[in-house]
């Protein structure tokens, strides 16, 4: 083992960042590895859902019980953010965000993707590509604009000058900072976690990265939770307006 490390030109491990497995679709160059892992994650979720709902029992057991627990979790998450009255239509959106991000993060942290060699780049969590997280964050932006407009029509714009028109620039800026912070938070956390693990594996291949990997699992879960919670909070804010509907509570 020592001789392995002593050998200077032996590739113990390598870090590949910014290398992408490009696919050309029309004029677009897409990151194939992100698609592959995303499909894997989607397939995992779909298969789990199918398994859970294929033979529905009155008293849930096994997979059905587990997925019902997940559904309960997601529903409570949406309910906490949106309130009892509004949460129901947004459970699918927030739940999908949470489950997709969570399974993506954990698949990146748990599955030995590096066993599969790609011509270029490497398989990893889809969320460590900024394009994925930006897409998710823009979906959240669309969702809260949709929520605001469907609730108040053009009166939604009133919220920009609601407490005082002086804050109008900040209110407009918020619409840009929200997706920015959402996407960069998720992307940064996941990429940083994978990089730290990668670097540690590069330096000390065995056992030393374990605590960081466990920490990575924890932060991955937390990031999924944070993303879904913030999405819920933004939608709630768009539904409720800034300060004028406090009496509803």
């Amino acid at each position: 083992m020592l001789s392995f490390i002593a050998t200077p030109d032996f590739p113990l491990a390598s870090l590949e960042v910014g290398q992408h497995f490009y696919w050309e679709i029309g004029n677009l160059k897409v990151h194939g590895q992100v698609f592959l892992v995303s499909w894997f994650v989607i397939a995992l979720l779909v298969i789990a859902s199918i398994l859970a709902t294929r033979n529905i029992q009155r008293i849930p057991s096994g997979m059905q019980n587990f997925m019902e627990y997940a559904l309960d979790f997601v529903r409570d998450l949406a309910k906490n953010q949106l309130g009892e009255k509004e949460y129901r239509p947004w459970v699918p959106f927030i739940g999908t965000l949470f489950l997709f991000i969570f399974v993506s993060n954990w698949s990146g942290a748990l599955i030995p993707w590096k066993l599969i060699k790609l011509p270029e780049g490497e398989l990893a969590a889809p969320t460590n590509d900024i394009n994925t997280t930006v897409a998710l964050a823009l979906l959240v932006s669309l969702a809260y604009f949709y929520a605001g407009f469907s609730r108040k029509g053009l009166g939604y714009f009133a919220k920009y000058v609601q407490p005082t028109p002086i804050l109008l620039p900040i209110a407009i800026l918020e619409d840009f900072t929200k997706p920015l912070s959402l996407s960069f938070r998720l992307f940064g956390n996941i990429l940083a976690d994978e990089l730290v693990v990668g670097v540690l594996v590069l330096l000390v291949p065995l056992f030393v990265p374990l605590p960081v990997m466990l920490l990575g699992l924890f932060t991955s879960a937390i990031q999924a939770l944070v993303f879904a919670t913030l999405a819920g909070a933004y939608i709630h804010e768009a539904l409720e307006g800034h300060g004028d509907e406090n009496e509803e509570h």
């Binding site: 113990l12 960042v17 008293i59 748990l110 590096k114 066993l115 900024i130 056992f207």
Partner: protein
């Protein structure tokens, strides 16, 4: 494409690795051992933790279902009891109603008979009154007629009565008395 730019910036800092690598190397390279340990830990602890949560959830659901079933049965029993009571009450109502109808018929008949008797009695009383009144009126008339006749006789007496006539009358009366004795 600034996103890609960021990616490329990081790429420049990345460590470039040689493209070749055997399978034996890729076990270390792919972090397989650590991943297996992490997965093992996760399965070991997660199974217990998640298993506890899931079995608790399952038993909660079972208890809730059982509770609901119990309550359903109780409610069904109560419903049956109440329905029986309702049927009884309906029977009772029918009974009371028919009794009341019979009583109503009887009361109507007796009232009608009473009224008939009363009418008869009143009619009789009325004709009695009528007779009495007529008799009284007749008696009254008689008395007045006799009174008037007497008055007329008394008023005419002094003009018609002469001494001679009086004497004749007295004599006649005496003769009558004498004749009687």
């Amino acid at each position: 494409m600034s996103m890609l730019g960021i990616g490329w910036l990081i790429a420049e800092a990345a460590v470039e690795a040689p493209e070749e690598g055997g399978f034996a190397a890729s076990i270390l390279e792919s972090n397989l051992v650590n991943l297996l340990i992490v997965i093992g830990l996760l399965v070991y602890f997660g199974r217990g933790f998640l298993g506890k949560i899931l079995s608790e959830r399952r038993s909660d659901i079972e208890a809730a279902l059982k509770d609901a079933e119990d309550r359903r049965q109780k409610a069904a029993a109560a419903l049956a009891g109440e329905q029986q009571k309702l049927a009884q009450a309906q029977q009772e109502a029918v009974r009371i109603r028919s009794g009341a109808e019979a009583r109503a018929v009887a009361v109507t008949a007796s009232l009608l008979a009473d009224a008939e008797v009363e009418v008869q009695r009143m009619r009789e009383g009325l004709s009695q009154d009528l007779n009495a009144e007529r008799d009284r009126a007749i008696a009254d008339l008689r008395q007045r007629v006799s009174t008037l006749a007497l008055q007329k006789a008394e008023s005419e007496l002094p003009s018609r009565m002469t001494d001679e006539l009086q004497t004749n009358m007295i004599n006649h009366s005496i003769a009558m008395i004498g004749g009687a004795s």
